[in-house]
């Protein structure tokens, strides 16, 4: 008898789990709230996918993504919906994926890729690189290194768009 119950138990547990997953998958769309300290960029915005670059790696988020909190790197947030894709460049922040397919993105600064001046990126990158190698104190060096990282990510994003 105990042999039979042991054989049945895993099967029932599996069935229960399957039921739960199929129920969760039925919600469909991904809802994005995108906020800056001075502006609410998007509120209850429906998309099919969001691509973002986190400190732990680049992510593509779909509906029903596992709940997570990610620290954002300076990089592109690509909001993909049926009507196309909307690209923002953020200076850094956090993305919080909730269990109910709601994604909250908080950033300090965000601009559409087309609002960025490529010429200014090139000159500021050169200036920050110069400072990163020539600054006398460690903290200024590190500040310049942060800027270099941001400008390089920005250049990559701009050249990716031109392709």
């Amino acid at each position: 008898m105990s042999f039979i119950t042991r054989a049945i138990k895993p099967a029932t547990r599996l069935a229960a789990r399957r039921f739960y997953a199929s129920e969760a998958a039925s919600s469909g769309k991904l809802i994005v709230n995108f906020a800056l300290p001075h502006e609410s960029v998007l509120k209850n915005h429906e998309v099919s996918q969001v691509d973002l670059s986190a400190v732990s790696g680049d992510l593509g988020i779909l509906a029903d993504h596992v709940p997570t909190i990610e620290q954002l790197k300076p990089g592109v947030i690509d909001l993909i919906s049926e009507s196309g894709s909307q690209k923002y460049f953020v200076s850094g922040g956090f993305a919080i994926m909730n269990p109910n397919s709601v994604l909250n993105i908080n950033a300090i600064e965000a601009f559409k890729i087309e609002d960025i001046d490529a010429q200014a990126v090139a000159t500021n990158l050169a200036e920050s690189q110069r400072l990163a190698s020539s600054a006398k104190d460690e903290i200024t060096k590190e500040a310049a290194a942060i800027e270099v990282e941001l400008y390089e990510a920005l250049q990559a994003a701009l050249s990716g768009k031109a392709k």
């Binding site: 200076s91 001046d117 590190e142 500040a143 400008y151």
Partner: protein, 70 residues
């Protein structure tokens, strides 16, 4: 996970302010007047001890450009 800026003695507020300022610099000229309004935002902090506020201090922003440019 350890970050180079953290080991240099910076905190996240300073890190994110530097990145935000760097991004604001390279936005196209027609948007710059709007952006200039949020430049120079600072955070002050005070250490509380026995129910009394200590001295008010700024979280210093690390300069990377000559003053006139910022």
């Amino acid at each position: 996970m350890s970050f180079a800026w953290r080991t240099a003695g910076m905190n996240y507020l300073q890190y994110s302010s530097i990145a935000a300022r760097a991004l604001r610099r390279v936005v196209k000229a027609d948007l710059q007047t709007e952006i200039a309004k949020r430049e120079g935002v600072a955070i002050k902090f005070a250490k509380w001890d026995n129910g009394k506020a200590g001295a008010l201090n700024n979280v210093p922003l690390i300069e990377t450009r000559p003053k006139a440019e910022n």
